[in-house]
């Protein structure tokens, strides 16, 4: 019984911390991109102001919207909070069990799916087009990511881990421990795939297709205003942090608490802070720099990137890791 209470309290604390950190990152990102374009840029706390303003504004519900329109933002935020319980945050996920990677991927995809449902429920043709684009990109981007993730977990399984196919395994064994040249090449290929996947998951740069404000009037969000929009923005920020957390946990899982010699709660806090720092670094590469130097692609070009570039890259990376294990090439 106590365990459940502690886990719930931990989840609430994590939710408060991650919503603060992810909104702070959005402000930092806008500032960094502005500096890259030789502008002054908005204040660091701009996303908080945006969020508070949206919360205090009127929420209009369109005449053609159905019941799910109001439900979708709440569901999206609820799913992102549930996702936090399965996200590695510098320590093993709160509810880590055997095979929880499936739940993680399922919840991560569900956020995008709920956005699509909300957009279709709003009854606006712009939102419909945005929803179609989001659905297409959703279907395309998950496959290279899942292939890479499952290959790495499968490979780590052979190193001997406590819970197989759990996101907690990254804190026991990591992919760099393999050490062989072939494994290193495979890992670097998969790292590139994951960075591209991250950019498409948070829809920036090349992949800013569903929410193209100049073409389809903000896409799925076209009819949302006020509180509903604010909830969607928050769930998007959480999703961004969680997606980057996955990349950090797979490729850069090291904590610093063991080196400083901390233990207990202090170690957890130091690890979370260090994890946040690593997430910011990964997002800087995959979001700020990528956003500043690339423009939007057409949806067909983006789909081609996923199926003709990233998927083969993921297959090659996975095959290299498999060949390394099987010892076909000594």
């Amino acid at each position: 019984m106590n365990n459940i209470i502690y886990a719930t309290l931990g989840l609430i604390a994590l939710y408060l911390y991650v919503s603060f950190a992810s909104l702070l990152w959005e402000g930092l990102d806008r500032k960094l991109v502005a500096r890259m374009q030789r502008r002054v840029g908005p204040p660091l706390l701009q996303p908080f102001y945006d969020f508070l303003k949206l919360m205090s504004k009127e929420s209009i519900i369109p005449k053609h919207a159905n019941k799910f329109y109001e439900l979708a933002p709440v569901l999206a935020l609820a799913v992102s909070i549930a996702l936090l319980a399965y996200t590695p945050m510098g320590f093993a996920p709160l509810f880590a069990t055997k095979g929880d990677v499936i739940v993680f991927i399922y919840l991560l995809t569900l956020i995008g799916f709920i956005r699509v449902l909300g957009a279709i429920s709003s009854g606006s043709p712009y939102a419909q087009i945005g929803a179609q684009r989001e659905m297409i990109i959703l279907v395309s981007r998950e496959i290279p990511m899942m292939l890479g993730l499952f290959t790495i977990l499968w490979r780590l399984n052979y190193l001997g881990v406590e819970k197989s196919f759990s996101l907690a395994t990254f804190y026991q064994r990591n992919i760099w421990e393999l050490g062989t040249p072939l494994a290193l090449i495979g890992t670097f290929i998969l790292l590139a795939v994951f960075l591209a996947w991250l950019a498409s998951e948070i829809e920036v740069g090349f992949f800013d297709i569903p929410e193209a404000e100049t073409e389809v009037a903000e896409g799925p969000m076209a009819e949302y205003s006020g509180r509903h929009l604010a909830l969607f923005e928050l769930s998007n920020a959480l999703k961004m942090f969680v997606s980057a957390s996955l990349v950090v946990a797979i490729f850069f899982p090291w904590g610093i608490s063991a080196y400083i010699g901390l233990s207990g709660t202090a170690a957890l806090i130091v690890d979370v802070l260090f994890h946040t720092f690593k997430v910011f670094v990964v997002l800087f590469i995959s979001m700020s720099v990528f956003r500043a130097i690339t423009g939007r692609l057409r949806i067909t070009q983006a789909v081609q990137i996923f199926w003709l570039r990233l998927l083969p890259a993921a297959i090659i990376g996975s095959l290299i890791l498999a060949i390394d294990l099987l010892g076909v090439i000594a």
Partner: protein, 167 residues
């Protein structure tokens, strides 16, 4: 020489005063005025000046101003053009689609008084015959500074309204 120096100094201080005024305002309206651009048959002159106000040279984003693609997200409507018969219904619709509190700014000579289309049977200027307008920014086209100043005036008016509601 002395006069020029005094002139630049006064310019700088005026700009600083303006920035401080915006920062103070933004505390109230949530510090993030999002702008939606309504084109009601404009010749594209004012539209280019609006874009110029958002470019790195004037960098309106430092006050949290963001150009959004749908009236549902907007706080400020920038209306350009002489409101042709075709666009009249759309302008009214967009005004109704914008959630409260909102500010309407008429940019350019056309929505202010009709400009070269004065007394034309196919245009419906001035804009405030159809929807409530907070600020008129005259000019053909107005300079980007004028548009930014118009936004400041509009926000100030809105703050007065909000404060009046509270009391």
């Amino acid at each position: 020489m002395e006069e020029v120096k005094a002139n630049t100094q006064s310019q700088i201080s005026e700009r600083e005063i303006l920035e401080r005024r915006i920062a103070k305002l933004c505390k109230y309206i949530g510090r993030s005025p999002w702008v939606f651009h309504v084109n009601s048959g404009s010749c594209n002159g004012c539209d280019i000046e609006i874009i110029a106000a958002l470019t790195p040279r004037y960098d309106a984003e430092r006050f949290g101003v963001k150009l959004v693609g749908t009236p549902r997200h907007a706080d400020i409507l920038l209306v350009t053009g002489p409101i042709t018969d075709q666009s009249l219904e759309r302008v009214k619709l967009i005004y109704e689609q914008t959630p409260d509190p909102k500010v309407v700014i008429a940019v350019g000579a056309c929505p202010t008084g009709g400009s070269v289309f004065y007394e034309s049977p196919f245009t419906n200027a001035p804009l405030d015959k159809h929807i409530p307008v907070d600020v008129f920014v005259p000019g053909c086209p107005p300079r980007p500074e004028a548009i930014l100043y118009g936004v400041v005036l509009g926000l100030e008016k809105l703050i007065k309204k909000i404060e009046g509601e509270k009391e």
